[in-house]
Subunit: 222 residues, 2 copies
DNA sequence: CGCAATTTTGACGTAGTTCAACACGTGTGG
DNA sequence: CCACACGTGTTGAACTACGTCAAAATTGCG
């Protein structure tokens, strides 16, 4: 079994509280689905370590990557009001999640209001994350600014729970990133190369380091 | 005072419950900010009627429209865990909102767990809305597919609380839409014209009607 | 080590955005 | 009534960013 990368920082986060009251950690191996589209939605998951990829099946039966989830973030949170999951969630590399069973949560929640407050905070944070993610990709006309904004978003999300705000291990393949951003693998590769030549990023396989935050921001918001 | 358009459908929605327990409706006039970036965050708002535009101030001091909010949706929900609002929220046309005061909510919430459950459902729905909005605009390489997906998303969001799923009154100006989607007003105009010529949409000023859903979907997901 | 999968680079053509300039309708105020 | 500003829609011409095809380079895994 490979080691799991990028664990959640120690500390009394909402997730660790949920975890201690409700459930045990689950280990999910590479490429294993956490859940699939249309499956009955009976649990919310909080990522503790590793990375998940969310996908949709589009009309022509080609997969569309609609997002990635990192430690501290929720997956399947619309299970609270939906009967079925709306997308697929698949582990990228080996991961660890905290499974929040909805039945259990409902029962415990009635007795422990602080558990509900906890969930409210988690949902609020997830909301903020989604809004930020959205505003980082919307209204970007060039692939360069889109990729720059995407990278900045990734680093910001990782720095909350990760020791370094400038280093990032992204277990995702190039195709998945390109798919997610809506361009071809070649284009992605080219821009990565360009960013390296300019000294903005340092990339070795799946390890990425930010070298020039200011310039990257300038490209993103241009 | 102008009439307020597109009110929330009658019925026991989560928002009407919040409203009856916590607060009174607030009327917000056209172009009036609900709150601004950096202001202390002391309340969540739920839109009851009308439309709000969310904006960010980018580096070069030009406004970027990061989203629109319609009846049944939340604004400022990250106030739960943030000290300050992260963006501007401005009324487009005359609107009506339900203000959920956080202090009040905290006090009432301790006594009434059902109020907390209510909020949890609201947040979960908002989460789902954000994720759907995101996946509708991400990975669109042509302006046509982006606009088609944006329109479909608008209609879907409005049909939940609106009588007609095919008609939409969008009080927002062309520039705001173009800004939000990241292209020029000309491009927007061209595509709107094209969609009308093809018989996909009928547009009269700010009234939009879907004529051919299937073809629109095909363009969006191509 | 060797094969397969993934990633990078190059050259080229084109679709589609952008820029610029104008036309039209409407509201406003002198 | 006309002059003006403003929002919106239209059109043409130029450019460039991205997709496509093809091949080389690198990585990963048994």
């Amino acid at each position: 079994m490979q080691p799991i990368c990028r664990p959640l920082k120690a500390g009394k986060t909402e997730i660790s509280i949920m975890d201690s009251y409700l459930s045990k950690h689950n280990i999910v191996s590479n490429a294993t689905p956490l859940f699939l589209h249309q499956e009955p939605a009976d649990a919310i998951y909080a990522v503790c370590a590793g990375c998940f990829k969310l996908t949709e099946q589009s009309a022509e039966n080609n997969e569309k990557v609609i997002g990635f989830r990192f430690p501290g973030e929720l997956i399947g949170e619309d299970a609270i009001h939906n009967q079925h999951y709306q997308y697929n969630a698949v582990a990228v590399g080996h991961t660890s999640v905290c499974k929040i069973d909805l039945k259990e949560l409902n029962e415990c929640g009635k007795l422990m209001p602080e558990l509900q407050l906890n969930l409210i905070t988690l949902l609020s944070k997830q909301n903020a994350m989604l809004r930020e993610e959205f505003s980082s990709v919307v209204a970007k006309h060039t692939a360069e600014s889109l990729l720059a904004a995407f990278m900045l978003n990734l680093f910001k999300r990782n720095s909350r729970y990760q020791e370094s705000g400038t280093k990032l291990y992204l277990p995702v393949g190039r195709d998945a990133i390109a798919n997610h951003l809506g361009f071809r693998r070649e284009t992605l590769s080219r821009i990565f190369s360009k960013f390296q030549q300019k000294g903005l990023l340092s990339i070795q396989a799946k390890n990425i380091e930010i070298l020039d935050l200011a310039k990257l921001e300038h490209i993103a918001y241009s």
